[in-house]
């Protein structure tokens, strides 16, 4: 019987701050996990840690999802292993901090390949491997940055905008097939020393918009189960996202441009 087969939650970018929080949250709910990220050794440590804590099965496989060939091999391996999934968390994403003109073409392409292309490809592929006996959940990690054009984070913000629109459209389109799609749009999350430094550099605004990753992961899963289209953690962030649709894009871009310049000034000389 198909329903007696184990079915897994696939989490990409699982060894990052938010990824680990998603993995811990899903494990706490008793779900078996399939984790992926760049480093095999980090995946192995996390898999052992989580299975000790929550007594669930944790499988993993390292893959550079930004590389189309590696990605395809990874996705095929899931199918070959005969795995089935009831939840997909598209969490892998990255940004190279700094002005557009200072980034290499390769870096910019990697942001698009991972944030956009990989999410689309994985979503399409894993739909075929869904556990037919259960509602299939997709959670896409977009960002508050998806609500406005963001100077200095231009490609990143645009890629997050893509994920937001992609999720909203699929949320409607796939509803009839017992598939739910939720976009998570958090502000900065203090999940590792680098991000914590940059949140501190943003000063008061950085701190009040930041939310703990444990809280964000738990709530995001609650919202996905409640079949919500979008989840923006924090009231202030919800307000900021609404502001993003009220204020003309050009004005928002100008305001953000000024704020980021101040932040980077504060960040650079002291570090």
């Amino acid at each position: 019987m198909l329903s007696s087969m184990r079915s897994f939650v696939l989490i990409t970018g699982a060894t990052g701050g938010l990824g680990k929080a998603f993995a811990a949250e899903c494990a706490a709910r008793g779900w078996d996990l399939f984790l992926t990220d760049l480093s095999e050794s980090r995946l192995a440590l996390l898999a052992v840690g989580l299975s000790r804590l929550h007594n669930v099965e944790v499988k993993y496989r390292a893959c550079n999802l930004a590389d189309p060939a590696a990605r395809e091999e990874f996705l095929k391996s899931l199918e070959t292993a005969g795995l089935q999934f009831h939840f997909l968390i598209n969490n892998a994403g990255l940004d190279f901090e700094g002005p557009f003109a200072e980034r290499t073409p390769e870096e910019l392409a990697t942001v698009v390949r991972l944030n956009v292309e990989a999410t689309v490809a994985i979503t399409r592929w894993v739909l075929r491997l869904r556990d037919q006996a259960r509602t299939f959940r997709i959670l896409n990690v977009s960002s508050l940055a998806g609500f406005y054009p963001m100077p200095v984070k231009a490609v990143y913000a645009a890629s997050k905008r893509f994920l937001l629109q992609f999720s909203l459209a699929l949320h409607c389109e796939l509803r009839g097939d017992d598939i739910t799609v939720t976009a998570l749009c958090p502000a900065g999350m203090p999940s590792n020393p680098g991000v914590i430094r940059s949140i501190n550099a943003q000063g008061f605004m950085g701190r009040v918009t930041a939310k703990n990753v444990g809280f964000v992961a738990a709530k995001a899963i609650d919202r996905a189960l409640a079949e919500r289209a979008v989840y923006i953690p924090g009231l202030l962030n919800l307000f900021l996202s609404r502001l993003g649709s009220l204020v003309p894009s050009s004005v928002a871009a100008a305001l953000i441009n000024r704020r980021w310049r101040e932040t980077s000034k504060r960040c650079t000389p002291s570090n």
Binding site: A21, G49, G214
Partner: protein
């Protein structure tokens, strides 16, 4: 092995109650209470291994001690105690070092390293940072060093706890405080875990054991602990609060007292402040809680 054992005995006979030739490991030894305790112990003739997270700070501390105290027998080892892998590697490195010197005998382990984190941050093993560094690391390091502690005539395991352990309980439903993370609650729980661990360790060793564990309450101490992993209110509050704290050297006295005073085998006195036993919280003495934490910690470090 026989040869090594004989050498050890000789050291003890020649030193008597003197502390010369005794060995100590201190974690969190590049600043604050740990550094103060390390200097004091080195001055008393202990052979000391300090542990720090940053290679640079370890090298600086080692150099400054060597120049201040030319005769001191001090080495520093670098380990990030949030990583269980690194805790195990550290224990192996300590074993190797002491094996060549005295047959692998450790008289004193001071689990002093501690951290505060404003945010819910997880370790590479997927565990909450304060629980991992403040509790799981001492638990694992003590267990890994047990064979070395067993070789000492009378070994002591001292863990730096805190008055924060009062008025709180273990959050069994979510020990990692994942959903409702609160910096202070998670810190208090980790310091309660230190006392629970210490008491349970002694219960498991049984009466007449040649290893005893103590938890130290350093009181309010003027160190940087509240500023390193924090920001905003917590950081600001600690900066003000630490001004009222005593110097790390004063806080380290209780550790030195426990490390050097003979006849402290009294199993009732687990919690010490200002060189005197103090009554720990009622919850910290509950056997069911101690056993449950021990079993959980064993599972999480297995």
């Amino acid at each position: 092995m026989e040869h090594v054992g004989a050498r050890r005995e000789k050291t003890e006979n020649t030193t008597g109650k003197n502390t010369t030739g005794k060995t100590a490991v201190i974690t969190g030894a590049t600043s604050g209470i740990g550094l103060a305790a390390l200097k004091e112990l080195a001055g008393l003739g202990f052979r000391v291994i300090g542990v720090g997270r940053a290679a640079k700070r370890c090298a600086e501390a080692e150099a400054s001690i060597r120049s201040e105290m030319p005769g001191a027998r001090v080495d520093y080892l670098v380990a990030d105690l949030s990583s269980q892998r690194q805790v195990r590697d550290l224990a192996a490195a300590i074993s190797r070092l002491l094996e060549t010197e005295n047959g692998g005998c450790l008289d004193l382990l001071v689990n002093n390293a501690g951290t505060v984190s404003s945010w819910y941050v997880t370790t590479e093993d997927g565990y909450e940072m304060q629980f991992a560094v403040n509790h799981l690391a001492p638990f694992l390091l003590t267990r890994e060093l047990l064979p070395l502690l067993n070789k000492a005539g009378f070994a002591r395991v001292i863990t730096t706890s805190s008055g924060s352990h009062y008025n709180t309980r273990m959050n069994w439903r979510d020990v990692m405080y994942r959903r409702g993370y609160n910096c202070l609650l998670a810190y208090k729980q980790s310091k309660l875990a230190n006392v629970l661990f210490t008491s349970e360790f002694n219960r498991r060793q049984g009466p007449g054991s040649r290893i005893r564990a103590y938890a130290v309450d350093p009181g309010l101490v003027n160190t940087g602990i509240g500023e390193k992993g924090t920001n905003g209110f917590v950081c600001w509050f600690w900066r003000i609060r630490r001004q009222r704290g005593v110097a790390p050297e004063i806080a380290a006295r209780t550790i030195i007292h426990l490390a050097t005073t003979p006849g402290l085998e009294d199993p009732e006195a687990v919690y010490w402040k200002d060189c005197r036993p103090k009554r720990p919280s009622g919850y910290s003495q509950r056997e069911d809680a101690g056993r449950r934490l021990w079993e959980l910690s064993e599972r999480l470090t297995s």
